[in-house]
Subunit: 154 residues, 2 copies
């Protein structure tokens, strides 16, 4: 039972979550802290179910329900981003400090390639402003075939 990933969450992220919770009149609990830790222990994109398995393996408690209840909170607190994959399931990725990015998702091998493009971001913000729309979440996913899977037909 290696207590790995124990210190992988930067304090400022914990703080950001606590602040969000407080603002909403919610509480910081052991479960939520554990989930926060595990979430940041992930390198890439993961699903709720992945997280559950990972938590069980690492000896953390936590039920499926709690995970499903917590992930949206992390999204709303700004620590997590939700990506809808090719199978239309929710995948998440934590903000690794860097700027926002979008995804190319392969319909055959399910690979997810990240890309960033500040021009697109800027244009999107402009559109929102023009419509007096207050953006919360951007979905900018391009589905198709990656260079290795191009032979595949739709």
């Amino acid at each position: 039972m290696q207590n790995r990933a124990k210190s992988s969450v930067q304090p400022k992220f914990v703080g950001q979550f606590e602040e969000y919770l407080k603002r909403k009149g919610l509480k910081m609990t052991k479960s939520r802290r554990s989930i926060l830790e595990q979430v940041f222990a992930y390198d890439g994109h993961f699903q709720a179910e992945d997280l559950l398995v990972s938590m069980r393996q690492n000896g953390y408690p936590g039920s499926r329900a709690t995970i499903y209840r917590t992930l949206p909170l992390l999204v709303k607190s700004g620590l997590l981003t939700e990506v809808i994959d090719a199978q239309k399931n929710s995948r998440y990725e934590h903000i690794h400090a860097l700027q926002q990015h979008a995804h190319l998702i392969c319909l055959r091998c399910s690979k997810i390639i990240e890309f960033k493009n500040t021009e697109i971001d800027a244009l999107q913000k402009k559109v929102c402003k023009a419509h007096q729309f207050k953006p919360v979440k951007y979905r900018n996913e391009i589905l198709g075939y990656c260079s290795e899977c191009q032979t595949e037909e739709i």
Copy 2:
């Protein structure tokens, strides 16, 4: 039993679908034709279930399964576009001839506002090319609060 919406599908769309089906070794059937008609009778965005109800109301036969099996074909034939809504369900809209567009989706009232931005489209294509990625489907949905629902907090 008004036989409305009978002629709302332009022949060229029927042709396009037939061509796709032929290319795939599939058949044009009554069910598929009915679904095509009903799909083009819709003004805005609809879900599979909406279509089922609408077809029942208009006296068309057709089961849920067939609808779920046909909509993806229409997408692949290029006649329909899939949009993932705030609840993560599939919504569809037929191409009303015009160019591609993206969506602002209100998290509170679920309203869907369309917008087009050719600059964004061009940039996305450029990104794909840079990654040797063959795009099939673009998801460009911005979730947030429309001008009337801004008071709402997340």
